[in-house]
Symmetry: C2
Subunit: 265 residues, 2 copies
């Protein structure tokens, strides 16, 4: 049953009424590159283009689709930006782009730019993180494998090193939170966590530069990480969830305080 | 303190050691359009370009940046695809693109395509939704305003109408779940919920077409929606959370069953 029919007026087909104004939609002007994009997307959604497949080169695509090469290039740029296609170089037989599947960079960029445009706030990012991380550690407490846990322990040990830069500390910090998300076995959660962390990475590094006692703060964050891992390893998911919430909210609040104290420029 | 210095070997500055191999990074080939993109992104991140601002026209941008117009156009296409810029038309004084801030379409497209490329699974999307929706209804039970609740009631009433198409039913269904997310007052959550729903919209409509008793299923979903709203209005967040989880998981499982029964083509 498709919910579509070709009669005038409303009619019934297998018990479902079909409103005929459903048959028409406002005509939308679709630019050439958007039509190219739509065709490639459709092939992916239909499963005819898969991860690892090579797209024809620009020239060949332009010929098949009967459009200009710049239109093809614009569509490919958009797909690259979305992490769907990796750029191809040259023009020989090995040229052309590949279908790939790395959504993290685009999600990070989109979140970072929309944060800058005030589509949502730092606080809202923090709140979403808290919910996702509470769930991640509860799941990890149930199902994380030993090697995942020992990888996280190693990260925490590396963060103890007071000689690493704040930027490096923040990268390890991101690695810890993304690692926890991945330990719970949901790939989408890992992707979202990476994007949410990346979105506030610059702000976090700036915050550290403003703190009066950055190394003391780092020590505190590291010991909170160790506490979260202890709870996960004991299988105490509820405790791990509360600890991760205190950790994320606490750091956000110190970030807010340091922002309030920062000289306005 | 910047964590950077210009001495040879490791050195200390205000207590932080700076590793000198931190000063160099692998040289990355950045294409012209990527440099254009980076400059516009930087203006947004610095807050110098804000929502509603107009970008110079393509020709003027090309002149200021001393690059070709196609390179400018490729960068603008990427920003349009990310919902950062809305397309400008024509070439007169009113031409040029505007900075906008609608991240939903790109998040939806990215999630849909990555789902098709198996970067993550339908089940993982469902699991993330469950966590976010459990939180949304708990928050809504605490803080939703009367007009938000009556808006959601109206949506549920419209879904009771057996004469609407499955596609229309699914759109109202999405509206219900996104509305719940928005009722909890976190704009990022609303955005994510819309994107997660959009990502599986086509699959959901197909599922309905496969069901043997689609209208009975619709009635059941509507009465589950009403039950969730009842619990939210009573302020019983825990009950609302359990109901929304049963609702989302239950529908996902019926989707799995119908997929297992579908003839393979």
């Amino acid at each position: 049953m498709t919910g579509r029919c070709h009669h005038k007026g409303d009619c019934w087909k297998e018990g479902v009424a079909v409103a005929h104004d459903d048959l028409f939609r406002p005509v939308q002007r679709q630019r050439i590159y958007e039509q190219v994009l739509a065709q490639i997307e459709e092939q992916i959604l239909q499963g005819r283009l898969r991860s690892g497949d090579r797209l024809p080169g620009e020239r060949q695509l332009a010929e098949s689709l009967q459009v200009s090469r710049p239109a093809v290039r614009e569509a490919l740029r958009v797909l690259e930006a979305m992490g769907i296609v990796s750029a191809g170089t040259g023009s020989g037989p090995g040229a052309g782009s590949h279908i790939t599947g790395n959504g993290t960079p685009v999600l990070s960029t989109v979140l970072r730019l929309h944060l800058a445009l005030s589509s949502f706030s730092q606080r809202e990012v923090m709140e979403v993180r808290v919910q996702l991380e509470r769930w991640a550690v509860r799941e990890a407490a149930r199902s994380a494998r030993a090697e995942q846990m020992s990888g996280l322990r190693t990260l925490v040990d590396r963060m103890r090193d007071r000689q690493i830069s704040h930027a490096e500390f923040n990268e390890l910090d991101t690695g810890f939170h993304v690692g926890l998300a991945e330990a719970c076995g949901n790939a989408l959660l890992g992707l979202l966590m990476q994007a949410l962390r990346d979105a506030v990475h610059q702000e976090m590094t700036l915050t550290f530069q403003r703190l009066t006692e950055p190394l003391a703060t780092r020590d505190e964050l590291v010991s909170q990480h160790a506490g979260i891992l202890d709870a996960v390893e004991r299988g105490d998911g509820d405790r791990a969830a509360d600890l991760v919430e205190q950790h994320v909210v606490g750091f956000y609040e110190s970030l807010e305080r340091s922002r309030a104290q920062a000289p306005t420029t």
